[in-house]
């Protein structure tokens, strides 16, 4: 486990070469650099004081308090921070004035976030904040936003992202959304399986497809304007596009052929999907501008669940060409497929390439884990090395990555029970349930909002 974590750390650090160099450079200048470790943080989360954002007028006061609450909740849920109880705070700090660091050190705060909100004459609200290293007595960020009051949640997520990034060296993921399938009713043709979209923290849930329209496996476009998904409309499994701006949905591949397992290319210009050629399932690519389709695999076995590498040069997919379902990586044109999964007795499904790294999340079955759970969530490097399972259940499915490649959300089901959405760090720490109104499956994490 330690070696596994070390190698994650090393792969992380190599990816974060720039950020690390930056941090080291700063450390040289400022002796006591505050830093939450993405590896050790779960054992010892960084204590952070998020002071109530002071309102300079009554309307702004309410918004300021709500923003501080959302920032604390985000940082706490990441598992890397321990926001201190605001009731213990003895000082009120002011933007632009150096804080009384010794008073915060008494509370054992290592970082301090203060802010203020003010209503502007044009109807917007201005939110200013500052992040401090309490031990190093240094200001790390001073920033401000002006926005419509209704938009306060996004401002809170952005501030949390800035603080997370500055304190961990890893980009944040709080200003994002989740699309998933909300289920109600017994399994079968009569079940309602509706696409629902919500903020990453579960706020603002809203249906985007009607109750009569069975939808599954939604995935975000990198541009965030579109979702691709599978529907059983007209009793035919076929891939659809949904435009979040116009609320239009569109059948992607005409004809009676079954199409499923859609996923966007990293540039949003193409969709990979699987198509049934009379029992032979092949991986297809459609150019969204020309609508031209290309067949990428040519093998009598099942080839399905394609997912692009972040640079668009490779595709991971699952195939039973060896006799059981295993993971393969091939070039973007379908050439040179290489098997990457080899654990004895295990079969692999639902691979998803990290948007940030050469790491692949997958579902594994057959080689039971220590808890005897038949389905596991796992991660491995794209060359098949360093495989490890990080969660298990009666059934797990549809892993999806936070845009920073650090957190994975997936569906987890107990035997005979409903399915729920859970998130977990790639180290296997910090398993958390997302609260949803109904049984929930098929989560997809958006990129950072523009």
């Amino acid at each position: 486990m330690v070696t596994a974590m070390m190698s994650v750390l090393i792969s992380w650090l190599s990816r974060l070469g720039l950020a690390l160099a930056l941090v080291l450079g700063l450390s040289a200048a400022a002796a006591a650099q505050v830093r939450a470790s993405v590896e050790q943080g779960f054992f010892n989360p960084m204590p952070i004081a998020v002071a109530g954002f002071e309102g300079l007028d009554p309307a702004a006061d309410q918004i300021g308090a709500e923003i501080a609450g959302v920032i604390r909740a985000n940082l706490e849920r990441s598992g890397l921070f321990r926001p201190l109880d605001p009731a213990s705070f003895i000082r009120r700090e002011t933007i632009g004035v150096p804080p009384a660091f010794p008073d915060w050190r008494v509370l054992r705060a290592e970082a301090l976030l203060i802010g203020e909100a003010q209503s502007l004459s044009d109807g917007r609200v201005r939110v200013r904040f500052e992040l401090y290293d309490v031990l190093g007595e240094e200001r790390l960020i001073a920033f401000q936003y002006a926005t419509l009051p209704d938009n306060w949640r996004r401002i809170a997520h952005r501030i949390a992202d800035q603080a997370y990034e500055r304190l961990t060296g890893v980009s944040g993921y709080f200003d994002t959304r989740i699309v998933f399938v909300a289920e109600s009713g017994a399994a079968g043709a009569g079940r309602s399986s509706r696409l629902m979209i919500m903020d990453q923290d579960g706020a603002n849930p809203a249906f985007i497809t009607p109750a009569s329209f069975q939808a599954f496996t939604p995935r975000f476009s990198p541009t965030m304007q579109q979702i691709t998904f599978l529907s059983l409309e007209s009793d035919r499994p076929r891939v659809y596009l949904y435009n979040l701006e116009t609320n239009r949905r569109e059948l992607l591949v005409d004809g009676s052929a079954m199409t499923f397992a859609p996923r966007f290319s990293p540039d949003g210009g193409a969709i990979l999907y699987a198509q049934d050629f009379g029992g032979n399932i092949e991986i297809m690519r459609m150019d969204l501008r020309t609508r031209q389709t290309t067949r990428l695999t040519n093998h009598p076995a099942i080839d399905t669940s394609p997912s692009f590498s972040p640079d668009g040069t490779r595709i991971v997919f699952s195939s039973d060409r060896s006799g059981s379902s295993q993971l393969y990586v091939m070039g973007a044109d379908g050439s040179g497929a290489q098997r990457i999964s080899f654990t004895q007795g295990a079969r692999y499904d639902a691979p998803v390439w990290s948007p940030a790294d050469d790491v692949i999340a997958f579902i594994r079955q057959g080689a039971a884990n220590a808890s005897g759970e038949p389905f596991q969530l796992g991660v491995m490097n794209a060359d098949g090395s360093d495989e490890r399972t990080i969660a298990g259940a009666y059934l797990t499915d549809n892993p999806t990555w936070a845009p920073n490649g650090r957190v994975i959300m997936f569906a987890r089901e107990t035997r005979g029970g409903p399915s729920q959405l859970w998130s977990i760090d790639i180290t296997g720490r910090n398993l958390r349930q997302m609260r949803t109104q109904t049984s929930a499956v098929d989560p997809a994490w958006s990129p950072l909002l523009p």
Binding site: A189, Q214, P237, G279
Partner: protein, 179 residues
């Protein structure tokens, strides 16, 4: 023989009449097939005239009751069992007796698998059933296939019994049956 020819002609006529350039598929019947061992429920509607023994020959009910409209599979398998072959042999013979009949074979899976893999596996099951019917002389043009993965279980429970009936290929008559 004469009777048979007449039947065929009528069937051919019906097929011709019922074949506009874009044949519209009627809504699929709700899946309410019984477990394989249980006998199919007989229609219990009171018949105004003395009903013949069993359903009308050539009807959807006849197909379901005296032929069997589902074949079952082992876990994570699309191989036809001996019992499945026997059922498909009856289906092939029946389809040859009623040549206007067109079918849609839907492949289904139990819940123990990922959604996308199960859609693929269901397609394999439907194709396995189709291929066997074709090998027995049923023209491929009369058979369409589809997969519903694990989304259309007969029995929603998480038990061995439920899983065993949910792993099937379901032959549904789309058109051409005697009503």
């Amino acid at each position: 023989m004469r009777q048979l020819i007449v039947t065929v002609l009528i069937a051919a006529g019906l097929a011709a009449c019922a074949s506009p350039p874009e044949p519209a598929r009627p809504p699929l019947p709700t899946v309410e097939a019984p477990a394989p061992a249980a006998p199919a429920p007989r229609p219990t509607a009171p018949a105004p005239t003395p009903a013949p023994q069993g359903p009308v020959p050539g009807s959807v009910q006849d197909f379901q009751a005296s032929v069997g409209d589902r074949v079952f599979f082992d876990y994570d398998s699309f191989s036809l069992t001996a019992q499945s072959r026997t059922t498909l042999e009856r289906q092939a013979a029946w389809m040859q007796r009623y040549p206007a009949v067109r079918v849609l074979i839907a492949g289904n899976c139990d819940e123990r698998g990922t959604r996308e893999y199960n859609f693929a596996l269901g397609a394999r099951r439907a194709a396995a059933a189709r291929d066997y019917l074709v090998s027995l002389g049923v023209p491929a043009a009369r058979i369409e296939t589809v997969s519903y993965g694990k989304e259309r279980p007969i029995d929603p429970r998480a038990t061995e019994e439920a899983w065993s009936v949910n792993r099937n290929a379901h032959t549904q008559i789309v058109s051409g049956a005697v009503s």
